[in-house]
Symmetry: C2
Subunit: 236 residues, 2 copies
Amino acid sequence: MIGMGTEKTIAFVLYPGCTILDLVGPLQVLSTLAAMRPEFRVIVVAERLEPYETDTPLQVRAGHTFADVPSPDVVVVPGGGAPTLRAMTDETLLAYLRGGARLTTSVCTGSLILGAAGLLDGRRATTHWSMLDALPEFGATPVRERWVADGPVLTAAGVSAGIDMALHLTEELGGIDLARAVQFAIEYDPEPPHGKLNWTEAPRPLYLAVVGQWLRDGLGDHPLAERLATRLQNAG
Amino acid sequence: MIGMGTEKTIAFVLYPGCTILDLVGPLQVLSTLAAMRPEFRVIVVAERLEPYETDTPLQVRAGHTFADVPSPDVVVVPGGGAPTLRAMTDETLLAYLRGGARLTTSVCTGSLILGAAGLLDGRRATTHWSMLDALPEFGATPVRERWVADGPVLTAAGVSAGIDMALHLTEELGGIDLARAVQFAIEYDPEPPHGKLNWTEAPRPLYLAVVGQWLRDGLGDHPLAERLATRLQNAG
């Protein structure tokens, strides 16, 4: 069994259909940390060890089941569209997240899964910009930042924000020199071709429709679907 | 057979042991493009349809073999450490890259595979900062930029630079409005915890040793190993 020794185990959680960059951004950062500091062990866990679809044509496979690694020190939960909303009702996954990791982290809409597991109650948290107003459903205070640390919970904004969050976590786990070494290793010196996002141009009405479809596809007639849709519409 | 119609096929090339963020950064960007504009089809290709190891604990699997998709319009080649140098002598992979795509792109040390395939001769190109001085071995002029476009070849700098390169490519393929829509979708508004890299602090002597080990592990006694090592040492 893993995670019982003095090494710290960081477990990345896979579920079918997740957004793959949500997972791989922090996975690359923290695997680079683990290559430099062997007291950290990075693993990928899932309910089953079979190839899972992602939101891209890449299929992925975990190396361990939830049962193999019941008590990791750190858990990372990726987000996505309809499959992530579906995962909010996956009791096996939720039970795993309630297992008491010292730190539970999420990227993008992965924070909604944390919310469904009851981990965000009374916490400050973030998620993909289009879903931020859904967080109070879980007792959370939404915060518009790249990542938000609140006690045993660390949540990141949408998709690519997982890289920033993981570099912050690397510094928390191993210090600033190590975080800088990882940043050089992955040459993280970002230059978006047209600079940062101009938030006055965010396509909010489009996303209200897109997220509404995700809620219907992922949650069907589960009462959460309507409650979350109402929160987003009232805020939008 | 795919890629014979009016749709444009963008093929991501997998090989064992590649750096997974090199692949997934552009894959997320261009899959988001394809979700918005169905005339683009994104696929993942490899020699075999079996799970491959990556440089992290995540295993990945392609959806198509090279033989399934002999003539994609755009090819994306990820980089990595020793496995990427090994891939420079993989004649099946090199033959696939010589297949005449309209645009061949790489991330990180993936450009060395393009070089081994003869695609960089007389071209301006880039790669991971630690390997830049190896590029003249392939007749290329090394350029220290986030991405470098030269005719049918588009190369990106290390690992995370693939995201910037893919947003540039999205604009080339679909225009600036589409590139901005993709940037909002993946919330690419980067905030490295301590800002951009300070290149005066780059750990160059450390990487000279690390890359030397990759060359020995990946290329063994192949003459390229010593030629590349000599170029890096003379420049370092």
